[in-house]
Structure formats: structure tokens, C-alpha cells
Amino acid sequence: MRDELDTIELPEVGLVVLVGASGSGKSTFAKKHFLPTEVVSSDQCRALVSDDENDQTVTQQAFALLHDIVDKRLELGKFTVVDATNVKPQDRKPLVDLARTWDVLASAIAFDLPLDVCSAHNAARPDRHTPEHAIKRQHKGVRKSVRYLRKERFRRVYTIGSLAELDNVAVERTTLFTDKRDDHGPFDIIGDVHGCHTELITLLDELGYDTKASPISHPEGRRVIFLGDLVDRGPGVAEVLDVAMSMVEGETALCILGNHENKLSRALAGRDVQVTHGLAESLEQIDARPPEFREKVATFVDGLISHYVLDGGDLVVAHAGLPERYHNRSSGRVRSLAMYGDTNGETDEYGLPVRYPWAEDYRGTASVVYGHTPVPAAGWVNNTICLDTGSVFGGTLTALRWPEKELVSVDAEDEYYEPIRPLVDEEVERPPLLLDVNDVLGKHIIETELAGRLTIEAERSSAALEVMSRFATDPRWLVYLPPTMAPVSTSKRPDYLEHPDEAFSYYRKTGISQVVCEEKHMGSRAVLIFAKDSDAAQARFGITNEAAGVIVTRTGRPFFNDITLTASLLDRVRAAIDAAGVWESLSTDWLIIDAELLPWSAKAKELLQQQYAATGAAASTMLPAAAEALSAAIDRGVDLADVKDRIEGRSAHVDKYIDAYRQYCWDVDALDGIEIAPFQILAAEGEVLAKKPHAWHLDVIDSLIENAPDLLRPTWRRFVNLADDDQIAEATEWWVEQTEVGGEGMVVKPSDSIVTNKRGLVLPGVKCRGREYLRIIYGPEYLEPANLDRLRERSLGRKTSLARREFALGIEGLERFVNREHLFGTHECVFGVLALESEPVDPRL
């Protein structure tokens, strides 16, 4: 007889299968020990598909649903209990398969109660009556099952054999060994040591550890995480093991399993393993010590865990890295992937296994820190970083400070082991950063710092995909798209559609005290994204061709079709930056600058000719012809004076309209005649500069303009204290003057750039366009009172909301880029702006 079962321990990330005849008390037990949502029962599924939980004719559909629910829950890592009889192996197999698919542990609880107990329970049920012969058969099945459950790969099997056990047994949830989410560090994570004891001590010293202490410890309580592969190849394997074992024992370090420890463990256990890849060195050094050491090492390596999830789930360490779906999961597959990575048996020209580049696909929120594959230098790829910098091959030994994310490394003192594959390839070619279609297609919700969660609808994403993949600049460059800008509310003045009054009153209402009025240049929006040189471009943007920068339009297309034109324009901008010392003052080797490129005719020539000039030509031909015909009829005494007046009035409007668009056109020859009016420096290494006050931007830009006065065009500006009516009047006067002579108008922005109040993000700017300029937007004759009255009825709500959302997305994308998050994280924001732009909004606003 076995002892009475008093406790059932169940892994909290796992599947529990209840096995028992009808009436054996499974459902009652489940109700007592588990949350209702954790239990998926066959009766419940029968009811869901057929409205009747006793309907035996829908068994197939009910179980299909049950398996689907289990599948989804396990995918999400939810503790799941299956309440069905499960008395046949073929009933349990799909459940075990699901557990394996999702790499969770499966447990079974068998309810092996006496037959009469089941029958009695069953008979007492008011709503149902399972035939006696069925219960008998099930009861037999349970008996038989109990023997096979372990073979069926249930990792834990419990049998409840009596009513007493059923009543008294306790159920406990256990966390996985891998789950250290409650441990928040701080840590110093160290890559593959491979017996480089000297380098390890130097590195620990560098990291501030007291290496004389035993165990080695840090005065501020920091702890080391060894990423595995402590052993083999190097000269100091035993000493490294001394350090690691004592630190782990003294709780000043954690250590995970590397493939070399795994093999060593097998060798020490007396298994037949090939003594290659430096295992000989380990065995030799271990055997030079007393036998107790060998014992201790065997126990140590045998107890190592495949990976850890730490710091609230923000950090995952695994020797060879680990795709997100395996984090905090448990299976042979997880262990193997964590040790070796994803290999398919192929080998490269050096005979080394080809590994699937999982990091490129990685989209997880947890940072994954790993080693295993020697790289010339540690660098982040999609929120993952490899710290194996080949110390034993004469490279460096590297540590990552967490949560600081600082890298610390020391040079190896020797090449202890000849690398199989050259550590530094002649040309270090970074793989192209791949984006996945799931990063952008379908409905997306993007979390932004400035405007919270923003939804991008699936149809919009669909529309944006075509533009992005066919016409836009390479996403590696395209880390920003400018937001649209809302116009001021419609003016109440009789002769104006837009007037500064509304801009000032808007900002006054939001509680802002100072705004800046910036001249709005009439050209085409241009974003300059560029590095100091092509090496810097490659390092920061991952661009492999020679280009060192791009100029893009507001929809992300290359501004010029001619790449040499772009290159020489950027060269001139770079020269100004060199001369002004801005690379140094911002400690950066790349910049993103928001600007307007003039003349308008440089980019919009086709539009100008096909629409603007054409309309002017048509109107200025037809209206005089009409006036002439009218005059002739009037001369004959026909009463048409009022018609003629109107026609002549329209003619005058058309003349002014033609004057208006001509202001923004001049012929250019290659670069000659092109002007760039920068108004903001959006980002540089380490900082989203768009958050800085506008005065800062204008100062930096002025220093650039001084160095390239022919190319760069200043932006006239005026700071206005909103409490001072004189300043408002002066600014308004300034606007009137410059718009009367053809200026497009101005943009009014909070001086502090980004401002949020309790209603959320304050509009980062509103445009206030000039009276004459608006002829280009609203038509030559829009100022006719009858027309203007109707045009006042414009609804700005959608445009304003769009401006706010796009701005938040733009800043968010920059933030992610500057923080070196995944390319997809930035791309999703840029894509989002493009997707929002595909919303139908009156294009004239």
C-alpha cells in the first residue's frame, strides 16, 4: 500500500488532465481547487455547441472546441485543467500533443474511486443519468490508464484512490525553475568564459567585484549571471569552475547551462561522448584535482537550468538565445534550443552548424541576452544581444550591466584556442534587418508615450502596405514620417478664412504662456535622414550600400529620383554641420532634420502644370472671351451689365491666383536654385531632440545657415507672450504683412515644443495660412463673399485628431529608434503614420 496522497503539486505553466469515470468527483474537485476559467470541461463544450451538456451526438464537435480552447490557453501559457473522462489513451493523446506543441508540462490526476461510489454519485444527479454499463467500462479504463500515464509523457501523475483522499488532498502550484521574474538584479551578465580565468578575474575587477572575497561578491550587491560555456578549450577551466560554483553557492551569481557543460556533464557521468571541441582540456584539468572536485563539478553542471526569465519578465538569459514562445516554458525542445539554437543539421564551410537567425525574427518585449556564437563585438539586434566575443579565441570577454545595458569588456591575453571559423570576417556583413508582414498588416494597436494606445485599422494598413513597399524609401532609413498639421479654426472675420486670432486663442485656452510663430515656407516637406559618412550609416542604419543618407517626402518617397542629386545636396548640408561643429556638440554621427524644400515647383512641377497653371490658363482665356461677348451684346442694348461685372470680378481673382502660385515657382538647374529651410532637428544619437524647445532648434539651425547661406534658408520667427496683447498685435501685423506680399503664412507652436495638459497632447502646431495663398487651396475665387460663406463650414475635428495621432506616432518611432529598439518597433510607427494618412480627410485642410 502506498502512503495517503496529501499534496498534489502542479506546475503553474502547465496542463492538467483529469482522468476518471463519470461520477468519480472530477468536476467537484475541479470546482474546489481551480478557477472556473481554468477548467475546460467536455460537458461545458457540449452545451456551447448544442445547448445541451448531455447531448452525446455532438461529441466530435464538442471535443474539437475543447481542444481549440486548450490550444489557445496553452499558447498564452495559462494554467489549464481538462475535465473529461479521458479514460482512453486516444482521448489523452491530443491533449499531451498540445502540451508538447506549446512546451508546457502535462500532469494527470486519476480518480480511481470504487465503482459503487461512482454509481451512487451518478444516480444522485438530477439532470443526468449515465448508463451503469458505461460507468463500469469507464471505471475499468481508469484502472488500466493509471499504469500507462507516465509512458504517455505525463510528467507528474497523481492517483486519488479514496473518498478520504478526494476530500483531504491539497493542491499546490509550483513555479518553474526558469521563472525568476521576482529577481530584479541588478546583474552583470557575462558571455562565454571557456576557461579564461585571468580574463574573468580582470573583468570582475572592472565590474567592481571584490575578487579577493570568497565567494567573489559586489559591494553593492550586484550579481553575476554566467551565460554558460564556462568550460572547455581554455587553460583555467577548473579555476573558472571554482569561481562560478562558489559564487552560485554563495548566491552572488546565477549560471545557466551551456552546451559545453551539457557535454561535460555526460562525460562525467560516464557516458560515451566524443572528446572534441576542447572537452579534453576540461577533463584533464578536472582530473588533475582530487576526485571530490570531479563529484562537485558533476553535481553542479547537472543542476544547471536551460534559461532564466528575470526582472519582472524584462530579461531572458539563455546560452544560445531563445525565441519568445519558449520563454518560461519547459520541454526537451526548449532545453535544446536554449543550448544549441535552432539548427537543421546543415553545416557551413567550416563544418560548424548553420543556425536559424532567430534574433532577426524576434519581436518580444523581453531583452534576450545570450552567447554561444562568437561575434567580433556585442551589438543589439531586435532587443537581443550576443555576449560571446570569443575570449578564448583571442577576442574579448564581455559583460552587460543590467538594467543599465552598458557593455564592459576586457581583451583576452592570448589566443588560447585556434578559432575554427575566423572571428572577424574580412568584411563584416550584417544581415539585412527583416521586417515581417505581421508587423504591419491587420489591425494594430501602438502604445505611444504621448497619446496612449493608438489603433491602426486593418484597411488603412492594407492601403499603406502598397505605398510602403512599392514607393517608399528603404525602411532601414525611413525611421520617421512627418505628421500632418491642423489649420487654425475658421476665422470669424468677414474677409478671412484663417487668421492668427484663432491660433493665439487656442493656445491661450490650453494654458500655454508662450508660443513661437514661424514662417511657413511654401515648398515641399522634406525630411533629411543622414549620417556623417557611409560607415556611420552602415553602423547605425544597417544600410549596406554606399548611400549615407536620404531625403524623403511626407509620404516617405525619395524626394529626388536622382540619387546623385540627393547625395550632393546632403554633402552640402554635411559641410554646414561640419563647419558649425554640430556633430561634436550633439555627440552624434547621424541626424534627422525636418525641413521644407523650395521651390514648390521642384517637387510639385507636375501638379503645378497639370492643375494649378492649367486652371489659370483656362480661366484667363475663357473669362476675357466671355467678357468680350458680353460687351458686344451690351452694346446691342441687351441687359447683361451685372453678368459682365461678375465675369470681370472673376477675372481679377484669377489674375491674383496666378500671381499667388507664381510666387512659389522658379526654375532650378540641378542643385542651383534649390533651397532648404530646416525648422527642426528631430533626433541625433541618444536623444529625441524634437522634445527640446523651439528656441534651441532655431539657434542650432541658425548656426548651420551661417555656414551655408546659399543653400539653407532662414525661418523668420517671433516669440509671443500670450498674456501680452501688444505682442499678439505685432505678430498679427507681421503675419498680415508677409502674407499680403505672397507669404504662405505661419505656424504657431508652443515654445516648449511638446506640451500635454489634462486633456492630453496639446496640438504641437497649427498653421495659419495667408489670404492670397489660400487661393491655391480653395480656388481662385474663394474670397467672393458668397463662396467664403460656404467655405467657412469646414469641419476640422478629424484633421486635428489625425495631426495629434500622427505626431505622437512620429515621436514614438524616433524614441524607439534612438533607444535602439527593434527596427520593427520604429517601422510600425512610421507605417502607422502612413496608414493614418490613408484616412479620407479633406485634402485642403
Binding site: 513597399s469 512599392r470 490658363a617 451684346a633
Partner: protein, 473 residues
């Protein structure tokens, strides 16, 4: 908009002011009517026995044009406020002609019925006519109808002579015609010259407009052209077209797309057919199975592949939702049996993104696609296609730029399509293909499509990549 019609005295109609009777408008008065998009006036700048001119002027309300949503899809068809429509002779002028000269168009003249069939010496003056195709089209439309045509091109902007000419002509048409016939000509041909969407006209009305040409249109040498231009903005079925104009060519009058223009350049060879034939052949030679057509467009190749017995499933992928919608219609997916339906799927995707839906196929076809991708993004495309989707066989076709010298319509140095980012020589294509093979473990064989000229090679080049070394390549 403005049109003036002048009648000159002739032997048979010695008094030009008879024009007033025919138009039902008294030469000394103004007739003003609201036509929905503005106010139309008819008046006479001159009226004498020798010469009489009736002018129709419409004061178009520019705001109403933009504020009214036109077209069936609504939202996106807001007209810009800056618009030539108020000033040019378009379908709107036809509408105004119908409203103000309706009786004359119908051939009614109560007071002088005998005038209706009298040819008059007429001169029509249209100061601004948008003519797609310019003077050549203008002449081809009116000269066969017996008009002497005079026209001047309107300059775009005299301050910017480099911008060239506007799309407008100032037109004078002179002919001896009955007024009814002359009005019919204008009525039908103004929208044809303009060749833009018909505003302010319902679909049924378009048919009515065309019927105004009933007596003379079938004999017009450009009847086909006129009908097609007339109807191309309608979503029409072949039947409706056949019903309307018996015997006219009933090919799809769909929008002229860029593809059509590329095909026009290549047409003498019917290269597209040869290409499809060669690609289907290569798919079959590779063993068929599950095929993904990347850049399937409107489904031309998908349809052909489905007809092959060895092809068990086709996934059509395109980046354009519009193209996929058309493909769905053209493949009649909604009418397929369930079994058949399971063999074909259409999805939106782009080769610049990895996509697990593209994995596990036996064959991928990438037909005339790579030249639409910026050359610097081809590394990503190769990686996605060969490295990630990794089908057993990949069939790629692309233009051979060396062959371009054989296309008479193509000027030197220009590519076959506005959207082509590059066109490769055979050597360039080979270099790219070999790099792909070495990067992703494929072997490649090349084949010509179209006449394989000794000096330049074929118009289209095809590469068939096979995964691994033991493949068919």
C-alpha cells in the same frame, strides 16, 4: 464655360437671324436658366441678316463642384477647388446645351419647321477645349463630319515658357450643317475630347448622350474610339456595350493602366502571352504542386496555372488590394465549387516583408516583379524569397534591356514602364542570380522568352532557380 455659334447668311437661308427661331431664343433678349452647377445665359453679341451669333455662357459655381461628392465611391472623389472645370468645354457644357438648346437638338421648330433641315453656314467658337490627344484628335473627330478646323494652343503660363503648352485648344469649327446636327456633334464630342469623368450626368443619361450620335456615329471612322472614350468611366458589362453599339469592338473598356501602356510597347510580339506560356511550362516542368504567384496582379497567371493538372494549389499574392479585388472577380472565385475554391487563394503581401504564409510552396513565380523594386532593396527581397519563403523552385522573369533597341516606340535610354526601377542586361541578371544561388543554396538555369535575337538576346529573360544542388537546374 462658353460656346458661341454663328450663322452666316446663305443663298438658301438669306437671313442669319433665323438662328434665333431655331434656338427658340430671341436675339434681343437674354435667357438665363439655373443648370444645377451654375447659371447659364444665352445672348447674342451680334445679330444681323448677314451674321448672327448666339453665345451660351455658364457661370459655374466653383464651390458647388467641390462640395458635391461625385462618383459612386464617395469619400475620395472630392474635386479640388482649384479646377479647370468652371472654365472649359466638357460634359458639363453638353448638359447646358441640352438644357438651353433642347428643342433645337430634338429638331423642333414650331414657328419655322422648314428651317430644321436647312443646312446653315455655321461657325462654332470654343475658347477653351481640353483635348486629350491634342490637335490630331480634334481633327480626327470633326474633319470627317465636314468641318474646317482651326485651333490655337493655349500656353500654360507665359512667365514659365519652359512649362510648355496647356492641354487646351482654342477651337473654331466651320461647316455647312443643319443646326441640329451641329449641336449633336458638339453634344457628343465635347466629352470625348475631354476624356474625363462625366460630372453631373447620371449613368443612364450617358447612354442618352451617346444616342444623339445615332444617325452619324456608326459611319464615323473613329466610332470605335468615340464609344470607348465615352464609356470608359462606367463600370459596364460587355453586354451593355454590345447592346449600345452593335458591331463595335467589345474588348474591355477598362481604365488604361500603366500595364496597358507597357503592353502597347511590347504588343507586336504579344510578349505577355509568350511569357505566360513559358512560365506555365516551367512550372509544369518543375513538377507543379503548390504554387505561389508573387505579384499576381489581376490573376492572369493564377488562372492559367489552375488549368494545369499538376498544379494542386495556387496562392496569388499582390501588394495592391485593388488588383486583388479585380483578380477575385476575374477568377470568379465566388462561383467556384468548394473543392475548386480550396485550390486558390488570394492574399495581400509584399516581398519586402517576411511572411509565414509564403513558406512551404513547391514553386514560386515572380513574373515581371523585381524590376519594380528599388535595386537597393533587392537584398531584402532575395532574403525573403529565397531565404525565408524558400520554395523548391523559383521562376523569375524580368525585361532584358539589351532588347529595347527593337521597340520602335521606346526612345533610347528610357525604360519600358514608368515604374521600372531598373532594367537589366543579361549579364546583370546573371550576376544577381548567381549571387542568390550562392547565398541561399539554389542552382539556376536561364531561358529566353520571345524571339532570341542574336545580338541583343530575347525581350524577356527568365531564370529558374532550384533549391539544393540536385534540382532540375
Amino acid at each position: 464655360m462658353l460656346v458661341s455659334i454663328t450663322a452666316m447668311a446663305t443663298d438658301t437661308v438669306p437671313d442669319a437671324t433665323n438662328l434665333g427661331y431655331l434656338l427658340h431664343k430671341h436675339p434681343d433678349r437674354v435667357r438665363s436658366v439655373d443648370v444645377g452647377f451654375g447659371r447659364a445665359h444665352v445672348f447674342y453679341p451680334e445679330s444681323s441678316a448677314e451674321q448672327c451669333t448666339a453665345t451660351l455662357l455658364v457661370e459655374v459655381d466653383p464651390i458647388s463642384l467641390s462640395r458635391t461628392r461625385t462618383g459612386s465611391k464617395g469619400a475620395q472623389t472630392l474635386e479640388p477647388y482649384v479646377n479647370d472645370r468652371p472654365y472649359v468645354a466638357s460634359s458639363m457644357l453638353s448638359v447646358a446645351l441640352g438644357r438651353l438648346y433642347g428643342s433645337a437638338l430634338a429638331g423642333n421648330c414650331e414657328n419655322r419647321p422648314e428651317l430644321v433641315d436647312q443646312p446653315l453656314d455655321l461657325e462654332v467658337s470654343l475658347p477653351v477645349v481640353p483635348v486629350r490627344g491634342g490637335e490630331e484628335v480634334l481633327r480626327s473627330l470633326f474633319e470627317p463630319l465636314g468641318y474646317a478646323v482651326a485651333c490655337d494652343v493655349v500656353a500654360l503660363d507665359e512667365e514659365f515658357p519652359s512649362w510648355g503648352d496647356s492641354p487646351y485648344l482654342s477651337v473654331t469649327l466651320s461647316s455647312k450643317q443643319t443646326l441640329q446636327r451641329c449641336l449633336e456633334h458638339l453634344y457628343v464630342l465635347l466629352p470625348v475630347m475631354d476624356d474625363r469623368k462625366h460630372y453631373w450626368i447620371g449613368e443612364e443619361e450617358i447612354e442618352k448622350l451617346l444616342r444623339r450620335g445615332g444617325e452619324w456615329l456608326p459611319e464615323h471612322p473613329k466610332a470605335d474610339f468615340i464609344t470607348k472614350r465615352y464609356l470608359r468611366f462606367r463600370s459596364l458589362t460587355r453586354e451593355a456595350l454590345a447592346q449600345l453599339a452593335d458591331g463595335l469592338d467589345d474588348t474591355d473598356a477598362a481604365d488604361e493602366t500603366n500595364d496597358a501602356s507597357e503592353q502597347a510597347i511590347e504588343r507586336p510580339l504579344s510578349l505577355n502571352d509568350e511569357r505566360m506560356h513559358a512560365v506555365v511550362g516551367a512550372v509544369v516542368a518543375a513538377g507543379g504542386g503548390r504554387v505561389v504567384d508573387l505579384g499576381c496582379g489581376e490573376g492572369n497567371l493564377v488562372r492559367r496555372l489552375l488549368a494545369e493538372g499538376s498544379v494542386s494549389e495556387v496562392l496569388g499574392v499582390d501588394v495592391s488590394i485593388g488588383a486583388l479585388d479585380k483578380a477575385e472577380k476575374r477568377l470568379h472565385l465566388d462561383e467556384m465549387s468548394e473543392r475548386r475554391r480550396e485550390q486558390v487563394h488570394l492574399i495581400q503581401g509584399a516581398l519586402t516583408y517576411t511572411d509565414d504564409r509564403l513558406r512551404g510552396f513547391d514553386v514560386a513565380t515572380v513574373i515581371e516583379v523585381i524590376e519594380h523594386v528599388d535595386e537597393e532593396r533587392l537584398d531584402i527581397l532575395s532574403r525573403v524569397l529565397f531565404g525565408d519563403a524558400a520554395p523548391g523552385t523559383v521562376i523569375v522573369t524580368t525585361p532584358n534591356v539589351e532588347y529595347n533597341v527593337h521597340f520602335p516606340k521606346l526612345s533610347v535610354g528610357t525604360l519600358r514602364h514608368r515604374d521600372h526601377r531598373f532594367e537589366w542586361t543579361r549579364a546583370e541578371f546573371t550576376t544577381w542570380a548567381e549571387q542568390v544561388c550562392s547565398d541561399y543554396g539554389y542552382t539556376v538555369a536561364f531561358g529566353p522568352i520571345g524571339p532570341d535575337d542574336a545580338a541583343t538576346g530575347p525581350p524577356t529573360q527568365m531564370a529558374v532557380f532550384s533549391k539544393g544542388t540536385g534540382g532540375a537546374g
